[in-house]
Structures are given as structure tokens and as C-alpha cells.
């Protein structure tokens, strides 16, 4: 009986956090540097979409997942939507064009965070491992690209900002990998929710 009230408070918190991120001063502050834009604002928007999923009752989550076309379709949607926002020109557009900024605030929670969380809970250990390894290798690749690129990829950001993002991405990938490996060796699944070895249903 306590559950709905608590999730109601969490929903309120998530909504407030989202609104806070949309406020122009907060937006401009986070978008002033490439690092905070890519590694703070955008991940937070994705995370809010994931939080939203956890606040839904299990039945709604299942219906939503089926609405997308199943866990694999969810993962595919999240992959494509996040790939789009990795285009340097999408990042540039999100600063200068209101429509692109709007698309970012809508698509990162709804088309990346939400389907990812929906897919995640129905994936077994192997599926989750697949997602982790792809996420980590993609970060290393992108980081290396930014460090090694002979030119500035975003017209709106300084080249040393780009270099910093590159190293941060590589560092972050290393940390995620270590954390994931640690979780594996402890014998616990990479998430707190119990993951079956193989999916049964």
C-alpha cells in the first residue's frame, strides 16, 4: 500500500528534474561545454526515461514493451536514436536550432532511455552483457576518434573541449568495464534486479 505513494513521489522528482533540465539557464550552462553537454545533460535525459519505466507498474511495462514490438525492437530503437545524437552535427544543431533542441529533449528520454530500460529487464545475462560490451566499446571508439581527430567536429565547441571529451569517454569506458567485470566476478548480475541466465518467456 505504501508503494504507489512512494512511486508517486519519485515520479514527481523525475518530472521536476526534467523541468529543471529544460530551464534556459540550466540548458545554456550544461550546453556551454561539450563535456557537460554530452556527458551530463544527455545521459541525464536518457536516465530520466529509464527512471520513468521503473515507476510504471509491471503490467504497463509489459504492454509498452509489446507496443514497441518486443525487447529486441526496444533495443534497436534505443540504438538508432542514440546513434543519431552521436552525429557531431546533431550536437551542433541542438545548440543553434530550437527544433533540434526540442527533438533532443523528447527523443533521449522517450526513444533511448525508455526502450532501453524496457528491453533491459527482459534481457538475460547474455543480453545485458551484449549491451554493456557494445556501450563500452562504442565509448572507447568515440573517445579515440575525438582524441585522434585532426579537426574540430563541432563548430560550437573548442578543440581542447573535444579533446577533453575524448579522454573522458575513454576513462568512463574503463570505469564501466571495471565495474561490470567486478559485478560479474562477484557473481551478481550487472543490475540490482535479478536477471535469469536465459530468458524463459
Amino acid at each position: 500500500m505504501k508503494q504507489p505513494r512512494r512511486s508517486g513521489r519519485h515520479a514527481l522528482g523525475a518530472g521536476a528534474a526534467y523541468l529543471l533540465l529544460t530551464l534556459p539557464p540550466v540548458r545554456h550552462w550544461l550546453e556551454a561545454s561539450m563535456a557537460s553537454h554530452m556527458l551530463v545533460q544527455m545521459p541525464l535525459l536518457v536516465a530520466l526515461g529509464m527512471v520513468a519505466v521503473r515507476l510504471l507498474p509491471a503490467g504497463r511495462r509489459r504492454r509498452l514493451r509489446n507496443g514497441f514490438g518486443g525487447p529486441l525492437a526496444c533495443l534497436t530503437a534505443a540504438t538508432f536514436a542514440s546513434a543519431y545524437w552521436m552525429l557531431p552535427r546533431a550536437l551542433d544543431a541542438a545548440i543553434g536550432e530550437p527544433l533540434a533542441e526540442f527533438a533532443k529533449f523528447v527523443s533521449l528520454p522517450l526513444l533511448v532511455g525508455l526502450p532501453l530500460a524496457l528491453a533491459w529487464e527482459s534481457f538475460g545475462l547474455i543480453g545485458r552483457g551484449f549491451v554493456w560490451t557494445n556501450l563500452i566499446s562504442m565509448q572507447v571508439f568515440l573517445g579515440w576518434l575525438y582524441v585522434a581527430a585532426p579537426l574540430r567536429v563541432c563548430n560550437n565547441y573548442l578543440v581542447d573541449d573535444q579533446l577533453r571529451v575524448g579522454w573522458l569517454l575513454i576513462t568512463l569506458a574503463g570505469l564501466l568495464f571495471a565495474g561490470w567485470l567486478g559485478a560479474l566476478f562477484r557473481g551478481a548480475p550487472a543490475s540490482r534486479t535479478e536477471a535469469p541466465m536465459y530468458k524463459t518467456a
Partner: protein
């Protein structure tokens, strides 16, 4: 069978929709940066330019429209720049020296525009011109008359200049070719003077 189709169809449509979005967002997987996109965009569709009031190194006032009927090569600079603008200035010098002398002025003009009009007055512009050997007639150095008109000018060209924490700017340096119809037709790398000159020669 039916269950497979129920799973497979949404997956396929999401993958198709996703690929289409990426295709659209990168101009057919050819332009991943805003810089590549603006270059392709003017090639495909030459862009009209705003008739912003400009002032040159001698205080003469003009607009880009005054160059109608001639080809115009434009670079964006700020006079305090000593990194990338140095190569820009050198490239412009090369450009100036590689077009037929007879065509200079009559068929083609060069223009360096400062995006730092607060600092760059006629005196600074003149000094910049002297540094790179601009003659002040066929190659002029200018700034927008009203700072308020600068954003529109830069937006039309797709030039972004951002403060670099050292008191200067970082900017997407390039050479721009404006056609006789006053439309922006081509944008090239600053180290690609040769193909740029070839494009000019074709149109002389």
C-alpha cells in the same frame, strides 16, 4: 509463424525508420559534421546572402550587393588572430597571386571580413591587409558597420566564432566563393587553394 512475424515486423520497421533517420540526418551518410553539411548544402543549393552594411579599411561603406556581376572570394577573420587566420591570410594571398591579373577587380574580388568589429576598426583592418599584402581595392578588409547585423551575416555563411578563453576566437575557417548572382556557391578548406582557384578559373 505468426508470432515470429509479430516480433519481426516491428523490429524491421524500427531498423528501417532508424536507418532512414540517420540517412536524413547525415545527408545520405556523407556529412557527419555541421561543417561538411554547410559545404554540401551551398554546392547543392547556392545560398542568397544578406545585404549587410560593411565598412572597409579606409572607412568606405558598401554591401556584398556591390559585387554583383563579379565573383567574390570571402574569408572571415579577426585581426588579433595569429594561428589559423595566418594560414587563411596566406591562402588568400596565394589565391590573389594565382588568378590572372587581368581578371582581378574586373571579374573577381577578394574580401576579408572581421567578425570582431568591436576591436577591429579601420586602422586594425588596414594593418591586417598590409600584413598579408592586400591592395585595399581588389582585396579589401572589412567589418560589419553595425555589430547587431553580424549574427545574420555569420548565420547566412554558416560561420561560427566562439571565444577561446585566451581572449581570441576559434572559428570554422574556410574560403567562400560568392557567384556573380551574389549567392554563396562554394566553401573550401583553407589548405585547398588550388581546387578553389580552378573553380574560379572555370567561371571567369
Amino acid at each position: 509463424m505468426k508470432a515470429t512475424r509479430r516480433r519481426f515486423l516491428p523490429l524491421l520497421s524500427i531498423a528501417l525508420l532508424g536507418t532512414a533517420t540517420l540517412w536524413w540526418g547525415s545527408d545520405g551518410f556523407t556529412a557527419f559534421t555541421a561543417e561538411a553539411a554547410r559545404r554540401q548544402s551551398v554546392l547543392a543549393e547556392p545560398r542568397p546572402l544578406p545585404m549587410v552594411g560593411l565598412e572597409d579599411q579606409d572607412g568606405r561603406r558598401f554591401t556584398l550587393g556591390d559585387y554583383a556581376g563579379r565573383l567574390l572570394a570571402i574569408e572571415f577573420i579577426y585581426t588579433q588572430c595569429n594561428s589559423i587566420c595566418y594560414s587563411l591570410g596566406t591562402t588568400f594571398r596565394q589565391l590573389h597571386d594565382s588568378v590572372p591579373t587581368a581578371a582581378l577587380g574586373r571579374d573577381l574580388a577578394l574580401l576579408s571580413i572581421s567578425f570582431d568589429p568591436q576591436h577591429d576598426g579601420p586602422e586594425q583592418l588596414r594593418e591586417y591587409g598590409q600584413r598579408f599584402g592586400a591592395d585595399g581595392a581588389n582585396w579589401r578588409i572589412a567589418r560589419p558597420l553595425a555589430a547587431a547585423e553580424l549574427p545574420a551575416l555569420l548565420a547566412a555563411f554558416g560561420v561560427v566564432a566562439i571565444p577561446d578563453r585566451l581572449g581570441g576566437f576559434e572559428h570554422n575557417a574556410a574560403i567562400h566563393l560568392v557567384g556573380r548572382d551574389n549567392r554563396l556557391r562554394q566553401i573550401s578548406d583553407i589548405d585547398a587553394a588550388a581546387p578553389f582557384v580552378a573553380a574560379i578559373r572555370e567561371q571567369l
